[in-house]
Symmetry: C2
């Protein structure tokens, strides 16, 4: 498994592959890979000749009081997992390689980044769009695969990619869950055993929302109310947001109609977990 | 001469050229081409196999009260001039092609964009870096050539290109002047005959600055004072700024040392003219 650490080396490798007519797929990750990430490699392999997995814990998408330093890392195991899953290259630049002294340029997507996670993590999406733009320029992929778990992220990245003409196809692959329904996340490792069992309430709340809506409920406040009740009955749950928004423009909606995104973020101790489902309410 | 109007068509043309091993040079312009632009084509031809000249009056770099609508345009003549000068492709997208409905993404360079033209044209450089990022993704050049007349612009673009890893070499070609010393600019067409002759004071002020500094003066306020005197003796001159800044970080300097950029912007009636020189004061 080749691990590339320098942007210039990554670019010339990609230029060579493109000149050979190879289709490059990119799976951008922050590492500490789990089945959710690995399923993205599967998705990428279906539509590319070569799959590059980037592993970079991106400092610019963490707030000052967030978990950049403590975010779990295990490059050796990650490289092994990528190899086993059939990835071709790991791109693993250092923070200094990506953000050298004097770095001052940012990519910003307006409108879509102000609510949901954008409201509680100011600057987060600016960091995400900036690093994804840089990764696109470094890896020069034809397609890139993101996970549905980060629903707002994938919508913001689709917008940025179209707006700036990156010419990269964005695919969004389904959320992969543990047997108990918890969405896979590197941050699940922060949970104590008790919090871990309490965190199953997120998936249950989403399931309940789906049921109520398919039963005919169209008032989003009522649905949100019931979801919050389920989550708040967990002693350690600290709700950041539970929202129902238009699945395209992410604007909050009062009446549930068409394609809606039901998204939530809840803290359990040190872990801030997110999850979501998209429902077509007709 | 092939004129390409669609981004997707431009991208697949560039992909083909790159696959053939051709080196693509880009000369980004707002059209109404003069010898200054055409000299950029010469520079590009020296280091590329194929030269693309983009012609796009970019709305996002004009302020609401600026001259976007009245900016001079003459596509037919421009295409003829590019052909005569040996350019290969004109890329001429519409404003709707570049900024379709729902467009919300911008590239911002911090720090370098706050003084000089950035101070009097808020949002200008955000528009410039955004459109140049889009042009880079559309044309996929190996090198791009900008004019020294827009000194701050070329420094900002160099920074953005490095920061976002565009992998494009940025060349800056010398300012081309009329016989009377006025820097060539599409906006010179706004000048009345009298203003036109008054505007030669900009070049004289820069020349005076160079003389005083080579004579030993190191106090930038004194140099600026003499420059302003020359310009203010013109009845229609309305100085926006006359500044001496570090040629790398664009920060104002009190004592003239090392490489300095002496830059100015002056309005004559409807025309806001800029000019500059770089001096190595040792």
């Amino acid at each position: 498994m080749r691990v590339i650490e320098k942007i210039a080396e990554m670019q010339s490798w990609s230029d060579r592959m493109r000149a050979e007519g190879k289709r490059i797929g990119l799976v951008p990750t922050m590492g500490y890979l789990h089945e959710g990430h690995l399923s993205l490699i599967d998705s990428a392999k279906k539509v590319s000749d070569i799959v590059v997995v980037s592993i970079f814990v991106n400092p610019t998408q963490f707030g000052p009081s967030e978990d950049y330093r403590s975010y779990p890392r295990d490059l050796e195991k990650d490289v092994e997992l990528v190899e086993k899953r059939g990835g071709d290259i790991v791109f693993h630049p250092s923070a200094e390689e990506m953000y050298p002294e004097g770095y001052v340029t940012y990519v910003e997507v307006g409108g879509l980044t102000e609510n949901l996670c954008g409201a509680s993590r100011p600057g987060h999406f600016r960091g995400v769009t900036t690093v994804v733009g840089k990764l696109f320029n470094a890896v020069k992929p034809h397609i890139a695969v993101f996970g549905q778990k980060d629903a707002q992220q994938s919508i913001v990245i689709k917008r940025m990619t179209a707006d700036l003409n990156f010419g990269v196809d964005i695919e969004v692959a389904p959320t992969i869950r543990e047997p108990d329904g918890i969405a896979m996340s590197s941050r699940n490792t922060y949970l104590t055993q008790s919090q871990r069992s309490q965190a199953t309430s997120l998936f249950r709340a989403l399931g309940t929302a789906e049921q109520i809506i398919s039963g005919g409920e169209r008032d989003s406040d009522k649905v949100i109310g019931q979801m919050k009740e389920i989550i708040n009955s967990q002693p350690d749950a600290d709700i950041d947001y539970v929202s129902i928004v238009d699945a395209e423009n992410l604007k909050p909606i009062g009446e549930i109609r068409g394609k809606v995104l039901i998204a939530l973020a809840v803290k359990f101790g040190k872990a801030r977990l997110i999850d979501n489902i998209i429902i077509d309410a007709g």
